[in-house]
Subunit: 636 residues, 2 copies
């Protein structure tokens, strides 16, 4: 049997779980679909951009200076090595940037200390004495975790390759050092990430101490071992053990990476209580602390969750890395449980918060993905500017996007013993053993998905097609024959069990009317407003589509008498825009506060305004944007 | 002529300006009124509390260690000396804590360097080399400014006293050092405060170089001399010169102290353009960036203004010191222009944001005064806990409250050549030269104000009584005779010009119905909600008044069909509460996002809920609170 490559998140055959990932080389996303197009853009633009920046921003020199091969000052944040590791991981998943990978592998091997330690910040002679002494802030294990994840990518994509073996060796030496040093410790790192990395390294190597250490780190956390720090113990989820806490708290990326590690450990150790706890915490995030775009994180100050229902669109921090972490966590829970809600959330966050983070040219990025920008916005000095930047001083997000997009194909479909499940729809080919398919679709611009069987065993099996939660009507034809769909929907999937033949064609049409979405009445920040959506996409108003004569951008309201938006279909793969009837009342001379009954009725201007997919905003000149649009008072 | 004591903000006789402050000893607020009660509580509880804390928190030891009289480590923030100075200032205004003042004066004199430098942080041997080298963050002039303000209070209250003379000498030596060092410099301090302090010291001493240096510091700012810092140049108002900038920006306390200094310089130098500019910037703060409580500052991250109309009640930072600064700025603009809007704003911020900052016992304080706290609020590690603390690591607010409350009587009334103006209503006595009055009122619990003339010259003069902007109806009787009020209202004041006799009695009744207030339609965060108000007071719902059977606090909505709230009058000076008809629909099983048309109609529970004055919240067990209450959808 020839080598089969794999993507991120591959539970062992002994692990608990309902679904299995497809082999990475059994999936191809066509570059003329949206998903495949993003993946191609990543390989052609984003990943090379990251490789270049690692040189120009000093990340590689930081490593070289440890061995005396660079005489520069240390540059960037103390965890700047992680940008190198995430880019390296992306290179392995994508199979590109091979020279970068080879050079970096050699550099890492040379930089690593004899005992396995590797961290260019703490290998500085002035800081060596501080190694392992300030875990609450050092990110040493977080950094090690990203090294390990690069090694996992190397091992899963090109295990026979010398470069891959070099990276795996470096990572294992560091992991072995961690096992030796922390195998009996009650300490842990201020920034989770090592847990999922060690669990994945266990999956690749079969070396059980890695998994045991991941489990230990999970349980060490939550006992106040990290102190209060600047933002309190909940900031790094150290206030209460993960197994007993009721709600997500604190720094969002920390929380989500921690949960990802918890799922990995839970399925590998058959710890159903731990798995149930991760599901409970996922629910607490999704049901009260997630933006309509799938973004998470309401507070700038500590990049943290807010209280339940605290979801201001303007001050949404919604860090790109948090959206990526949500997607990665969702896939783990999907494999573990098969529950469609996790795939639904993966789709939402991918098409909105994650997609919005990258410019159409693939070379500029949002750190934060707010849902509103006002006229004259002051984002000075924040990680939330009104436009995408080509790099950040803390550049965690761009290479994180690169590694996600490079492996995106591995998240679209899964298999189980009874068949194959399609979760994300993109034109391409998908296979699980002898079962293989082609998918053609203009999704998300159109809800029609055509699946053709290209190989099949003789026995019957089940083709499962996700019916998104936003979809109210589904039409199905099999080999040209219309077939009632609703009766075949089970737990969110259209389940087609039959003896399949090569050439069989399934056409699914998901109804995609424009929708007006409202938030829970407890979400104070969006009361009296609605958002436009269609299919998996959230839409927004952007200044460039609003003619100046209509008035101030902030004075636009939706006409609730005709809330149904017009869908402007487009040809081919061009974005579909929406048109909504708007009412504009100039409010310049309205006082900031006045008697509720002193209603000012002004002559209203009405017009149809164009809404664009949220993920495409800020690709024109900078200006205001909003997802949540006020509803004009009825009867005015 | 015997000595006349004065309060803060006393322009010279050469200054431009419409109104003059009354001498401090010409005003007494009776302790059985609300204003006088606050002032008495301050002298009896808050000021002694601050004095104690200066010892226990290390502030005084920080000074003692400079001379070797304490061998403790430096404690607190690098500007911890300012807590000493503000407390000292409060002691002078109040005429209490004389032992503390004497001890502190001696300590300061002993600690001061021969050249006049005084800053216990930068006098540490390890940090001496850094003196004056990091003005963007050092707060050295900010600290000097508070020393100077304490000296101004000493000079205005007890100039003949040895203790006062000692403090004035110390402050002048430091001020002289500043003049010598920065008289020709283009540098300035990262935190404004020195400008208003130097202008006031000029007013006390007549020494012109102090005023010139204040003016120089104003104009040095705005040319990028402080760098970008962590939050960008607008954070410290250094992005554009004060004279040309269009809007308030950045750190709120910095902005408001800077404007206070600008008014002082403008009136002393007859710089009408600078005065007009401060008025424009005040407008930009009040018309788009001020909370209904008068609090300012929408962002936690940098304690800063947000964009125009960015006014989230839950994340309101609304720092207590910013409210105090707004009050101080308002008084300066009132003196300069006589415009009632400044007095209206002083009243609003005093009775709401400022008053809320202190617990009923006078010994616990809010650093931040938000307008909403949700059930289960997570304020961990923030300067915005759900309850007042008895001290803060950065304890700027408590002693700032102490110095404001100790001088509160000096802000209530003013004089001009034609008479006397009452701006803030409290029981007490007021005099301006031969014109003197007594005021009796239960304000703000009742709108009736009785003014009795207790001394008067023979010539006619004008008694002016402010008619607050919130007041729609006024009744007036003079010596028992009803008199039409509206015709006598000019520019927001009831103007009573006549020949007065001792014993003349004026009774003004300001109508005080409960009001429902709405925010500008561009304020997204409070759309679909209204606030209860009565007189100058904003009201709030607090958990302790909501019976548990009614449901979750966050599910309470106001019934718009009967918006008029019931006023529960009380006897004497007990707070007046309001009752409003509420509708509660349990929303536990409503999804976070759903189709706008999928209206869930649940059986509603209705009840009359009690609202209390906002400033009194958080004096019972901790729990949720809100000022802005959602309005139930009409017709449901």
């Amino acid at each position: 049997m020839s080598f089969v490559s794999h993507g991120p998140v591959v539970p062992t055959s002994d692990a608990a779980g309902v679904l299995r990932p497809l082999p990475a080389d059994a999936v191809r996303l066509a570059p003329d679909g949206l998903l495949g197009g993003w993946q191609a853009r990543n390989a052609e633009a984003t990943l090379p951009h990251c490789v270049t920046r690692l040189s120009t921003e000093g990340n590689l020199d930081n490593l070289r200076r440890v061995t005396g091969d660079a005489d520069t000052e240390f540059r960037g944040f103390w965890f700047a090595d992680t940008d190198v590791y995430k880019t390296l991981e992306a290179a392995f998943w994508s199979g590109t940037a091979r020279d970068f990978a080879a050079d970096t592998a050699a550099l890492l091997e040379k930089t690593q200390d004899p005992d396995g330690y590797l961290n260019s910040y703490y290998q500085d002679p002035e800081r060596r004495a501080k190694q392992w002494t300030e875990l609450h802030l050092s990110h040493e294990m977080y950094t090690a975790g990203h090294l390990i994840q690069a090694a996992v990518a190397a091992a899963r994509t090109t295990p026979g390759d010398a470069v891959a073996q070099q990276v795996v060796s470096v990572a294992r030496r560091f992991a072995d050092l961690l096992v030796q040093r922390y195998g009996q410790s009650n300490e842990t790192d201020g920034h989770p990430e090592i847990e999922t990395a060690l669990a994945e390294l266990y999956r690749v190597t079969g070396h059980r101490p890695y998994l045991d250490l991941a489990a230990r780190f999970l349980d060490n956390r939550g006992h106040g071992v990290l102190g209060e720090g600047r933002f309190g113990a909940p900031y790094f989820q150290d206030h209460q053990p993960l197994r007993t806490v009721d709600e997500v708290t604190g720094h969002v990326v920390r929380q989500l990476y921690l949960l990802a590690g918890a799922v990995d450990v839970a399925v590998e150790t058959h710890d159903s209580a731990l798995l149930a706890q991760t599901e409970k915490l996922w629910d607490s995030a999704i049901n009260g602390r997630t933006y309509l775009t799938g973004g998470q994180g309401s507070r700038h100050r500590d990049e943290a969750y807010g209280d339940a229902y605290e979801l201001p669109p303007d001050r949404a921090y919604a860090e790109t890395c948090a959206a990526i972490a949500s997607f990665q966590l969702g896939f783990r829970l999907l494999l573990a449980t098969g529950n469609v809600k996790y795939a639904d959330e993966m789709e939402r966050v991918l098409y909105n918060a994650i997609a919005a983070s990258t410019a159409v040219d693939g070379k500029a990025f949002f750190y934060s993905t707010p849902l509103q920008r006002r006229t004259g916005h002051d984002g000075g000095g924040e990680n939330a500017p009104g436009h995408r930047l080509d790099w950040y001083e803390c550049a965690c997000c761009p290479p994180n996007l690169a590694r996600l997009m490079a492996s995106l194909h591995t998240y679209a479909a899964t298999a189980d013993d009874n068949g194959l499940q399609l979760h994300l729809y993109g034109t391409g080919t998908f296979a699980a053993g002898p079962r293989s398919l082609t998918v053609e679709t203009r999704y998300p611009w159109d809800g029609q998905i055509t699946v053709t069987v290209t190989d099949t065993p003789a026995d019957p099996w089940t083709l499962s097609l996700r019916v998104p939660a936003w979809c109210a009507d589904v039409w199905l034809t099999i080999n040209g024959t219309s077939t009632p769909a609703p009766a075949r929907i089970q737990n969110g999937y259209l389940r087609l069990n039959r003896i399949w033949h090569i050439g069989d064609e399934v056409v699914v049409a998901l109804a995609m009317p424009a929708r007006l979405v409202a938030a829970h009445p407890r979400v104070d920040a969006t009361r009296g407003a609605a958002a436009l959506a269609r299919g998996p996409l959230i839409y927004c108003l952007e200044h460039a589509d609003v003619p100046a004569w209509l008035g101030l951008f902030e004075d636009i309201e939706l006409d609730p008498e005709s809330p149904a938006a017009i869908v402007f279909h487009s040809n081919g793969l061009a974005p579909v825009t929406l048109g909504a009837k708007a009412v504009v009342r100039a409010a310049d001379d309205v006082p900031l506060y006045q008697d509720l009954r002193r209603v000012t009725t002004k002559r209203a201007t009405t017009a149809t305004v164009t809404a664009i997919p949220y993920f495409l905003w800020a690709n024109r000149e900078p200006g205001p944007m909003r997802v949540w649009i006020p509803l004009a008072a009825q009867g005015e």
